[in-house]
């Protein structure tokens, strides 16, 4: 008779591997969460582990007009960018997925290219151009620039969502006399609500976190949280940075959670 238990002993190699993986995970996630405990450590010494628990940093953050102003601006720009990018991106995704026009592949590549173009190049160009157009240091300028950056992500998310749809429904609507625009707004968009919500969230998050381009085109009146943070980090390590960083992190967490919830809703609705 053989052994009673199945041969699933883990060798030393297996445990070492798991240890290594654990290490990689710590390496990967620690920098993303570290700011949370730091920011709760009070303003006397910005260290980890924190020596005390205090919301002092947050108090200082919200007391400072510069920091608070940048937070507000980031929220506004983020929301506006998300709206603009989702709107334009949705139309673009639909046109790319269902259309048949000259240069379709090329246009698709162009619309997706900002992901792969180094943001410093875009930053520089936008800086030159906006200087001429007097858009430096304006909310409009920030929104426009951020939209370019986020539209590709919106398109990718929506293209994937469009692929799941049953095209025959759209064809049927067309046969019944609906114009392409009407098919889009009345047939496609309702089916895409979870993809649209996800795309909106991603656009917001990307805009909220965006540093490089904003660094170039922000001004005294319209500047974003990452820009103030970056400037602060280069010059002196202002303790409020920890609070700012935590807020950025928490925004990421919230959005990922929302996205996960949407995925679940979508699956149960399907």
């Amino acid at each position: 008779m053989g052994k009673r238990s199945s041969p699933s002993r883990r060798g030393i190699a297996e445990w070492l591997f798991l240890l290594l993986i654990g290490g990689i995970y710590v390496f990967l996630t620690l920098p993303s969460v570290l700011t949370i405990p730091i920011s709760l450590g009070g303003s006397r010494s910005v260290t980890f582990p924190p020596t005390e628990f205090s919301l002092d940093l947050y108090r200082r953050f919200f007391a400072s007009p510069v920091w608070t102003g940048s937070l507000v601006e980031s929220l506004i720009v983020g929301a506006a960018t998300a709206v603009l990018a989702t709107l334009i991106g949705a139309f673009a995704a639909y046109g790319l997925a269902r259309g048949n026009f000259i240069g379709q592949k090329l246009i698709g590549a162009i619309l997706l290219s900002p992901i792969l173009v180094p943001s410093i190049v875009i930053a520089l160009g936008v800086y030159f151009y906006f200087s001429q157009m007097k858009l430096i240091g304006t909310t409009t300028g920030l929104v426009l620039a951020h939209s370019i950056l986020t539209i590709p992500y919106v398109i990718v998310v929506l293209l994937s969502g469009l692929r799941q749809l049953d095209q025959k429904i759209e064809t049927a609507a067309g046969i019944m006399g609906a114009s392409p625009l009407r098919v889009f707004t009345h047939v496609v968009v309702p089916q895409l609500r979870y993809s649209l919500a996800s795309a909106f969230l991603f656009a917001f998050l990307i805009s909220f976190d965006e540093t490089v381009i904003s660094w170039f085109i922000a001004g005294t009146h319209a500047t974003t949280l990452p820009v103030v943070m970056y400037g602060s980090l280069k010059v002196e390590v202002a303790p409020e940075i920890a609070a700012a960083a935590t807020m950025l992190s928490l925004t990421s967490i919230t959005i990922i959670l929302c996205y996960a919830i949407f995925q679940k809703q979508e699956k149960s609705a399907a």
Binding site: P31, F48, G99, F101, I107, G125, T211, M229, Y230
Partner: protein, 289 residues
């Protein structure tokens, strides 16, 4: 709009008809891109060929002559290659681990990769300054074990930059490699085992060769991103760790030499385009297979 299946329909009448179905949908984005993307990039290219006196190649001439540029370019290449190497190794290991998990556990494992992926690089770089400093977490913890603070120089140098960049790049490796591993036919591993192959042999002769396209794609992806790094080398690097993006920033804001800044940007853009084309050819080949 026409059904996709009718894409290659020939015109019925004698006149040639340029297909324009759905063009209206992409028009707004095209306009936006033309205004806020194409034009700015056009400016960059244009300015690279222009100085205060007028059209000139001075910008490029300077680049070719400059020691500074040569050094920064070499630094960028070095850092990009090194960071890519480290990230691909770490990312591949992580993907292997996730691939062998049950779907439920894998979702959890992926969540812990997605979270840093979606965290702002500014936040991560800031955390690393706290972690890697002389009095930072790493040195303090080591000090606690060793009895004295070893004061390892982990920041404001090459190591700091590499740590920061790898930290950001690893998720970009995990996703394509994991997708490849999950797509591999499970029967292949089982067949190999039945034929007598050890788990290591199966990895070496089946899993690894089949994952090569994903490794290549991940490598190219990392290189593309690495060349554009700005925040990380600025915050975590020392004076010898200036990368191309930082150099552009220097020339734009401090030296106010827009010509040279543009020229460097054009070089960076060209390098990226070459890498992107390589990547698209690679993934295009994959699809054909």
């Amino acid at each position: 709009m026409n059904d996709i299946s009718e894409k290659r329909r020939r015109p019925v009448s004698g006149r040639a008809r340029i297909p324009l179905d759905g063009f209206g949908f992409i028009l707004p984005s095209l306009i936006l891109f033309a205004a806020v993307f194409a034009v700015p990039i056009g400016y960059v290219v244009m300015f690279s060929f222009q100085t205060d006196e007028g059209a000139s190649l001075d910008g490029y001439r300077w680049i070719l002559d400059s020691n500074l540029f040569g050094r920064v370019l070499w630094t960028s290449v070095q850092i990009a290659l090194l960071a890519t190497l480290v990230s691909v190794i770490l990312g591949y290991l992580l993907a292997l681990f996730l691939y062998r998990l049950s779907p439920r556990k894998r979702a959890v494992g992926l969540a812990f990769v997605l979270f840093p992926f979606w965290t702002s690089i500014l936040v991560k770089s800031y955390s690393l300054t706290v972690l890697l400093g002389r009095e930072g977490v790493v040195n303090s913890t080591l000090g606690w074990f060793l009895g004295y603070n070893p004061e390892l120089p982990l920041i404001f140098n090459r190591i700091g930059v590499l740590i920061g960049m790898s930290n950001h790049l690893v998720p970009f490796v995990v996703f394509p490699v994991l997708a490849n591993l999950l797509a591999q036919d499970r029967n292949l591993g089982q067949a190999a085992a039945i034929m007598g192959a050890s788990p290591f042999t199966i990895f070496r002769r089946v899993t690894l060769p089949l994952s090569t396209p994903a490794i290549l794609a991940a490598t190219l992806m990392c290189l593309i991103i690495s060349f554009g790094f700005f925040v990380t080398p600025a915050l975590l690097g020392g004076r010898t760790d200036v990368m191309l993006a930082n150099l552009i920033d220097l020339f734009t804001r401090e030296t106010l030499n827009w010509t040279v800044a543009s020229a460097i940007a054009v070089v960076l853009l060209t390098a990226s385009i070459v890498l992107v084309l390589a990547l698209s050819r690679l993934t295009g080949q994959q699809k054909a297979v």
